[in-house]
Amino acid sequence: MVTFRRFRPDDLNRISMCNMDPLTETYDSSFYLQYYAKWPGMFIVAEDDSGNIVGYVMGKLESSPAYFKQSPHYLPWHAHITALTVAPAYRRSGIGGVLTKRLEEEGDVGDAWFMDLFVRKSNTRAINFYKKSGYSVYRVVKNYYGDDVNDPTADGEDAYDMRKSMKRDTKGQHVRENGEKHAKMRTKRTSLEDPNALHNVKKQSRRNTPDVIMLRRLPGWRMLKNWINAEGDIQSTHDTGTTWYLLED
């Protein structure tokens, strides 16, 4: 049987049942620890009677920076599901539902307008799970993922940006029907071959030009990543050799 509680760093020693599953990525310690340091209430684990972590959800509370307020893509104060995983041995037992519910409660405590998440368009099992839990598609983000699990030759795979209103959103202003028909614009790609071009990236993002930047492993990539994180309005996903940054304007 499982108990739900906040994450503790030592849990990283007991995540084998979740993370040996090929569908669950194992990251560097900084990834897990930053959630523990910043949003300890939004990193929730399901622990079995032997102390194994059989599921976990990682979430955060954030908004776009103030100067983006005029943008149609401005994200107000909201909660976000970064990762949700349940060990294969414990699937179909309702653990994912409880973890999501707990995170939503934390979202309500944090006074979020809505909870959002990104999911591969091909992951119908997960999409059905979220729909059953009250989420709906808000928009399609083109080529959000750098790879396509079903087609290795494809440039990337689209994601569904799914949302659910939290208690604060009494009028349902932050969700919509037919979100599948709303695609996020993406018109231009910039390949950075020179770290000095980072300044241009910053400039571009401040203009209202939708942008996708393909960044090869360059000496300056860390600087860009930090800058992106500090802005809080950029999603990133990684694959080997190439890093893609999707800038929201």
């Binding site: 990283l12 007991r14 194992t26 560097d28 523990y36 294969p88 699937r91 208690k167």
Partner: protein, 1026 residues
């Protein structure tokens, strides 16, 4: 710290250089920082020397950016932060910082000290900030935290320890009092506890600063610890912590009392939530409806409280109660408390009533339905545990009924076996028999479909294996040395006694695969029959039947290659087994599919990498990247970079429990057995192929952080392996090369590496001292002291091993080969101490203690060599050499022993050389004897490597090993269709042969094994022995 910091600081400050303190030369700071990036040691240490000068002269650097610059320039020099940069930061905050616009500079100094583990200066800075910023809460709680951390880090002998502890306790008490005396949360003063994180810090400090159990109990009895009050405020984590503390301090009555109130009120909220989303359930019976009516009264009461509770508070309370009432860890605590009460029958009955109420009053998700079923089981087993008449038939029958009902309801869940395992282990032998019979009957019902029956029968098989691994399955009569199996009544000699398209489609659609479970059970039985048991201390080839191991491998391989895997149990199991028989490349191929990396290396890495250098030294190269590089990177990044950075973040955000959690995690990682052993593995591997490790053990950036006095922690996670053994045994005990990681082994390995670094040191060739004799004497004195210190550290864990070797009750922590290796090291250390401490003249007599040391070392080496020659008697001549692949670990440890002896001999020879005429005569004799012992062992290793290489590459190996494993079934003289009359005639052999995919399947497995052996043998050929 990144090089960008000083750059950006300089850019920022460039406009106001004139404001920098003139007494601490800015240009000098910039110059020193620039020099720190140059190649010569003098340049690299220039900044540190400048800092030391500032401190020595009691100067103050009045600009924090200059200190940042020095901080960056001194990174990695191994300086004591608290005496250098930390001291600069304190003097800056003390003398130069003024509250106002520059508050951030003081915080920055505080965070920098914390991130560098300098809590002494951090506390002083926090205290100054707390004093100068009375209207801010962050400095106040930072100060409290610093007092607490410092008190827990100071040695017991330091009088400040008690003082800081008391200060932390008093300040949190005061902060709690300020909160308690302020009715409205909006009016909390800055120094009052306001957030849940501050509340958790208060609780932690209050409990951990109480020194005795009675003091802690008295604290828990105080009104501040009213758990339900905290829950009403929405602080679930505080509530759960108080519950755990009550359990830890065995305050059973209070714990149980809280459970009653929690369930009463929690149930109201559950029903309230239900009724807000749906109308009254149609499926209610009359009695349930009555209960529901009763609950409505309670709901009305709750609703009436809305006047006194704001909507927000009420929502928080409701959320907290709903969460707690379904919390499995709390249920376990409550049931545990009920069992301990005097009137436990009544208490357990009450809890059972709650289970019924919760089950019927609310529409539960499936996970909570299962939770209620397990709660019922726990209560039932609790009742029989507390019942004095254990033979009570009603209870026994009830236990079995509930267990069978659970299996029938949850047979298709992967977790079904693990959920029931702890309860099954408590059954008596008679109960197990009835239980198995009942499950067997359930699995034969014609009303079930094939899949259900197959699953039930597989579960029965798994349960049967579990019972077999329990001592309850065996009985020994007086005067009879052998045991009798209680199930089949047979005498047990060697220890305790497994195409349908629709079915395939059904299995593909389920999370469980009964055939995978059967394969695991079957192969585990084969391994036990082969001689692998939980008391094994290492590879003792004379006791292992390799034929049965080959059967197990071929069965597993056939299952693995035929069907997709539902989980990772099979590949992990196979990877371990392939390692056990020396097939490292194939094991690595399987292991690489599991994605073990980054944070999982600490807990899962040892399943593959432990003792790797001893079986496959060919995986290392003298220079370049090593197999253990990902480990070093993970630990370096986490300990030096990621954790400090996040400690700072958590402090900035006031998440104090995260700060404490991160500090504990950093300490734990620094003393991780995996970290130490992976480091040792690399050292052994690099040495084996003639390379030199990048750092001496004492200079290694990770090893030098270790505090030898602390216990090293093993966090190996065996959950990835299937486990059907009765507690505490695990499958890992059976299929590992030896005992798992331990504090003892990690310490012995670490001290051994320190010793090897000491004796391997050679002066540069161009080092020509003017007074060689004097220098030699100084060197001897240094080595004597260092060796003595290592020997003293080594003695404690080694003594534990000696005791374990003679005491059958103690679980061994080393393989036999490791035990002899460390015994050899112990003698070598003794010898090095005696040789360097002795009187240095030619006729000096040998110390009495040392008269037999060299002979003992030679005896240890001889013993290891002799053990390696043994092979099980019934192994045919044609496959004997191949059997040695299963004993590579022993060969690796012999090689390490021989190398240590050789290095010691070389060291003594160098010691004698500068003052040859004065060296005691006996020392030269010892050097010769040691060299001779090492040469003899190395000759043996060379011969064995050649034999392994020849055996793996001889044509016909595949045929001879196939015939050895399956005899007539391979050469066609026996048919799989002919049913043998008895087991002795080969019934089992035939069944395994079929399960392994017959001729083609088995040859495929053997082919892979041979390929691996060839590659391993090739790797061993790169080992340098001369």
């Amino acid at each position: 710290m990144s090089s960008k910091i000083p750059e950006s600081n300089l850019r920022l400050e460039s406009g106001r250089v004139s404001h920098w303190s003139s007494d601490c030369d800015v240009a000098g700071a910039v110059e020193n920082a620039a020099r720190s990036q140059l190649d010569t040691p003098a340049d690299q240490r220039a900044a540190l020397l400048a800092v030391e000068k500032v401190i020595r002269e009691s100067d103050v650097i009045k600009d924090s950016s200059t200190i940042d610059l020095y901080d960056w320039a001194c990174t990695g020099l191994g300086e004591d932060y608290s005496k250098t940069i930390g001291a600069l930061r304190l003097s800056f905050v003390k003398s130069a910082w003024k509250p106002g616009n520059a508050n951030q500079e003081a915080f920055k100094s505080f965070y920098a000290c914390v991130a560098n583990g300098d809590w002494e200066n951090a506390q002083k800075i926090a205290a100054i900030m707390d004093q100068k910023l009375p209207s801010e809460s962050r400095p106040h709680f930072s100060n409290i935290l610093a007092y607490y951390v410092l008190s827990s880090r100071l040695p017991v002998t330091d009088p400040r320890k008690a003082m800081f502890r008391t200060l932390a306790q008093r300040l949190t008490e005061k902060a709690y009092g300020l909160r308690d005396n302020t009715p409205n949360s909006k009016d909390y003063p800055p120094r009052a506890i306001a957030t849940e994180e501050e509340m958790r810090l208060w609780l932690k400090i209050q409990v951990e600063t109480r020194q005795s159990d009675s003091e802690a109990r008295a604290f828990l009895d105080k009104p501040e610890c009213n758990a339900l009050k905290h829950l009403s405020e929405g602080h679930v984590s505080v509530f759960k912590e108080i519950m755990s503390l009550l359990e830890q301090h065995q305050v059973w009555e209070a714990l149980f009392h809280i459970s009653q109130e929690l369930f009463d009120r929690g149930l109201e909220y559950l029903i309230e939530a239900q009724s807000s989303t749906e109308s009254e359930p149609d499926s209610m019976t009359d009695s349930e409806r009555k209960k529901h009516e009763a609950m409505k009264v309670i709901q009305e009461f709750t609703a009436s409280r809305s006047e006194e509770l704001s909507e927000v508070k009420k929502a928080a309370e409701a959320r907290a109660f709903r969460s707690a009432v379904m919390d499995w860890s709390l249920w376990k605590q409550f049931i545990g408390a009920a069992v301990q009460l005097q009137d436990h029958k009544r208490a357990l009955k009450q809890l059972q009533n709650f289970v019924t109420k919760v089950s019927k009053s609310a529409k539960l998700p499936s996970i909570y339905k299962k939770q209620m079923e397990l709660a019922n089981l726990l209560i039932l087993f609790g009742r029989s545990q507390s019942n004095t008449s254990t033979s009570d038939e009603n209870i026994s029958e009830s236990r079995i009924n509930h267990l069978v009902a659970f299996v029938v309801a949850n047979y298709n869940l992967v977790s079904c076996f693990d959920d029931l395992k702890p309860y099954l282990e408590q059954l008596s032998f008679d109960e197990t028999k009835v239980f198995l019979e009942r499950i067997g009957q359930e699995g034969e019902k014609e009303t079930n479909d094939t899949f259900q029956n197959l699953m039930l029968l597989t579960l029965r098989l798994r349960f049967r294996y579990l019972f077999t691994s329990s001592p309850k399955s065996l009985s020994t009569s007086a005067g009879d040395a052998s045991s009798r199996c209680n199930f089949c009544q047979n005498i047990v000699q060697d220890g305790p006694c497994f195409s349908n398209r629709d079915l395939r489609a059904r299995i593909d659609s389920e999370d469980v695969d009964p055939f995978a479970d059967m394969t695991i059970i079957g192969t585990t039985c084969l391994l036990k029959m082969a001689g692998f048991g939980d008391e094994r201390r290492g590879s003792t080839m004379e006791s292992i039947n390799l034929k049965l191991v080959l059967w197990a491998l071929s069965w597993l391989n056939a299952k693995y290659s035929r069907t997709p895997q539902k989980n990772q149990a099979l590949p992990v199991f196979m990877a371990k087994l392939y390692l056990l028989v020396g097939c490292v490349p194939h094991a690595k191929m399987l292991w690489d599919t599991l994605g073990v990396k980054n944070v999982t290396l600490d807990s899962l890495g040892p399943l593959f990498s432990d003792r790797l250098s001893t079986i496959a030294p060919g995986m290392w190269r003298p220079t370049g990247s090593t197999p253990m590089y990902p480990y070093h990177k993970h630990y370096m990044d986490a300990i030096r970079q990621n954790i400090p950075r996040n400690i700072r973040t958590s402090l900035e955000l006031g998440n104090f429990t995260s700060t404490l959690g991160l500090l504990a995690f950093q300490d734990r990682l620094t003393h991780s057995c995996t970290m130490i052993v992976s480091n040792v593995e690399d050292r052994r591997g690099i040495r084996a192929v003639g390379g030199k490790p990048g750092f001496d053990a004492k200079d290694d950036p990770l090893l030098r952080l270790i505090d030898n006095q602390k216990e090293f922690v093993n966090v190996t996670d065996n959950a990835a392996l299937p486990n059907h053994e009765c507690d505490p045994a695990t499958l890992a005990d059976i299929i590992s090369i030896g005992p798992g990681l331990s504090d003892t082994r990690a310490k012995l390995s670490l001290f051994t590496e320190q010793f090897i670094s000491l004796i391997s040191y050679k002066e540069p060739k161009d080092f020509k001292p003017i007074k060689p004799a004097q220098v030699a004497e100084l060197e001897r004195s240094y080595i004597a002291q260092t060796a003595q210190s290592i020997h003293m550290n080594f003695a404690t864990p080694f003594l534990r091993c000696l005791n374990a070797a003679t005491d059958n009750e103690t679980v061994p922590v080393l393989t036999d080969s490791e035990f002899h290796y460390f015994t050899t090291i112990n003698f070598l250390l003794s010898h090095a101490v005696l040789a360097t401490e002795c009187q240095w003249n030619k006729s000096a007599p040998r110390d009495k203690r040392g008269s037999t040391i060299v002979a003992k070392i030679a005896a240890q080496i001889k013993y290891q060599t002799t053990s390696l020659a043994l092979v099980r008697e019934d192994t045919p001549e044609t496959t004997r050499a191949l059997c040695h692949f299963s004993n590579l670990h022993a060969l690796g440890m012999l090689r390490e022993s021989a190398l240590a002896v050789k290095l010691t001999a070389g060291f003594l020879e160098r010691l004698i050389a500068p003052a040859k005429n004065d060296a005691p005569k006996w020392l030269a004799e010892d050097v010769k004897a040691l060299q001779s012992a090492a040469t003899e062992a190395n000759d043996f290793v060379k011969k064995r490597i050649k034999a392994l290489s020849d055996a793996a590459n001889t044509s016909g190996s595949l045929d001879s090993i196939s015939e050895y494993a399956f005899g007539g079934l391979i050469d066609g003289s026996k048919s799989v269709n002919a049913t043998p009359a008895t087991a002795a005639d080969g019934e089992l052999e035939t069944m395994i042969f079929v399960a392994a995919g017959q001729h083609a399947g088995f040859e495929n497995t053997i082919g892979e094994i041979l390929d691996s052996w060839q590659e391993v043998a090739k790797g061993w050929n790169t080992v340098k022995l001369d």
